[in-house]
Symmetry: C2
Subunit: 397 residues, 2 copies
């Protein structure tokens, strides 16, 4: 369906124009008269697909695509290019002036690549705020982006619904994880897990059971896990799933480029009573935060609400990890898993209609494992809309 | 097994020292007196695992790890850190001088992150050649790295051997690909596919059948494929596998951090005669290149040998793609899929013992699909050693 939209020029072009104009509005505030966009997620956002090349986005003229590869894309305002040093001449041929103030993607472009692009425009003031500015534009989703999320999360839920059918007693955490990955792929998950920040890596998502959930992570994800190899910490460690352990499944729901996020908890047999109580506390946090969140709500206030509830319930020491804790309860999602806003201390940002975020109150119990919930939510005009519709209780395998 | 090695301090420390000394030798040539290493693959190389933090590598003193996360790593020369601005004070506490010339990973660090690190050392000459220099060190593997490759490729071959067992008539290319991904994961593949260069993305590898193999790629991989979504071009496009089509499987063999590379061709029923002839031509190229390659052989000469053979055989127009062609026949492999050396025109680099590369002569035939071969090879003292031992003929499914 998305392919139909994205390949249908009549449907796609107004959508891309809308996204580019959101970027242009932010550029105008800073007197930036052109942007050069070349990182994959930003090309998906502004051009609708990954190419190797440069989207040149002037403030007051149509965007031009200068493309290296693939070699089969043609159209108005699309021009072949071999190397960025050709850009000034190509702009001239297109009748476009050399920009006075040009924006580059400074938080994503490698240092040498950034400087190579800047050197192509020796007379231009180059500013490196492109990443931050485009991420700000991306934080409020368009109607079509929201629709992509909705469709993704229907498929995501369909995969999760089948999880009990692939469990076999005696499995390791790794074996169950592999079967769930397959379910996700069969429902259309693209597999790739895009994260902002060059040092955050994960395969398709994570599965955490028992005390492996308390293994601290080098990454800024909610929970860690030892992983199977020191070259890729996180998620399963190959331990057999044991009676009385919880299993938290947290797979990235990237079906059409958008990273839906959902966690659900399963149990091997019955869990101790406090696990169900802790799970219920997370559901209460979710309910309280969802009831409170609407346009204008301050992100930090949502975090503090969660901390109040979990503290009163007596689970604060186990909230968002033990020993090493994640200092957030939710995060924006979009083309990457970690977009704005972030529901964390000192985040004074206010929610806006069209923002999409994952809310993930989680508690890690010694000898049991992780419980809690994660859903993806869209901010509407007067509240939140839940995108991930899947049973929320602990499901016994 | 690798976990045993890597978690065994006695075995691991001399190996890491060896790798760091390879980097130090290159630093000495350029009068660099310290390196600050923070990108994941380089941390795996120099410290043996991914952490969030900084490995500070002085030319003439032991390395120190300044670590943000995880919070459970302790030891000699390991110090906690919150932010890079603490580095000068922490160096002082360790009795280390502020470096006169400091090397950063300029081709990998984002522009803003690079500049933030450089600003921590206002009196220091900062050079950005770290990526290139460490990649040069990494291009010649240690004995333990070669062993990791060998073990990886045994598992890789074991997964490929099972491919005929998961094929069912009527499958789409995507469905077959998913079953092969599962085989790879069950044999221990970590899944993650590391590529140098921020714009190259792929899930676990690719499966190409029929004319989808001719779909040009935005990436610098050997072949393309349309992909399932414009946000992730490459590999399968969801088409049913048809009688008379070839199927090339090219999955990344990352079992212990090292990206083994192997392609094998299968057929749905019988292929036209010219497909077997083209496949044979690729095997002949492989044989000729493998016979010729030894320490001192110039990479470009290997490429030219391949072109000569494929031209004489009459398949030059279909070699390494049609329409858009890859301009190489092989590439170094290691912690990333695209290391040095590259077997390509104008590459005057000479092979050295310990280099590991993938050699992948491939021909794409209209209406049939891709044929050819890809194996991973290690350069020995007097020739090559094949790491990927798996049947090389076209296997009928």
């Amino acid at each position: 369906m998305y392919l139909e939209t994205i390949n249908n020029k009549e449907m796609l072009q107004p959508e891309l124009k809308l996204r580019r104009d959101k970027i242009r509005a932010l550029m105008a505030q800073r007197d930036i008269d052109a942007a050069l966009i070349t990182c994959n997620v930003n090309l998906i956002y502004t051009y609708g697909r990954v190419v190797s090349g440069y989207l040149y986005l002037p403030l007051n003229a149509p965007a031009h695509l200068f493309i290296k590869r693939p070699n089969n894309i043609e159209g108005e305002h699309i021009h072949p290019i071999r190397k960025p040093e050709q850009l000034p001449d190509l702009l001239k041929e297109c009748g476009l002036p050399i920009p006075a103030k040009l924006m580059l993607e400074g938080d994503e472009l490698p240092f040498t690549e950034h400087n190579r692009l800047a050197a192509c425009f020796p007379e231009t003031e180059v500013v490196s705020c492109g990443t931050a500015l485009i991420r700000q534009a991306r934080s409020v989703k368009t109607a079509i982006e929201l629709e992509m999320f909705r469709r993704s999360e229907i498929a995501h839920a369909k995969a999760y619904d089948q999880i009990p059918s692939v469990y076999r007693p005696g499995m390791t955490d790794r074996e169950l994880c592999i079967e769930i990955e397959r379910l996700m792929r069969l429902e259309g998950c693209l597999g790739i897990f895009r994260v902002f920040g060059q040092s955050m890596e994960i395969f398709m998502g994570s599965l955490l059971s028992g005390d492996n959930a308390a293994a601290p992570s080098p990454y800024d994800f909610a929970l860690g896990g030892e992983g199977m190899d020191p070259s890729l910490p996180g998620s399963v460690n190959g331990a057999p799933l044991q009676e009385g352990q919880s299993v938290m499944v947290d797979m990235g729901g990237n079906f059409y480029g958008y990273m839906g996020d959902m966690s659900r908890v399963f149990s091997i047999g019955k869990l101790p009573e406090n696990a169900y109580a802790a799970h219920q506390t997370c559901l209460e946090i979710q309910e309280a935060v969802a009831a409170m969140a609407k346009p204008g709500t301050v992100c930090e206030d949502l975090y503090n609400t969660a901390i109040d509830i979990v503290t009163k319930a007596g689970f604060a020491d186990y909230f968002m990890g033990v020993g090493q804790k994640a200092k957030f309860i939710g995060h924006g999602i979009g083309l990457e898993i970690n977009e704005m806003p972030v529901l964390a201390p000192r985040m004074r940002q206010e929610l806006e209609p069209g923002m999409v975020f994952a809310l993930e109150p989680k508690i890690v119990l010694p000898n049991v494992g992780p419980v809690g919930i994660e859903n993806s939510w869209a901010v509407t005009s007067d509240g939140l809309d839940k995108l991930t519709l899947c049973k929320e209780e602990i499901i016994e395998l």
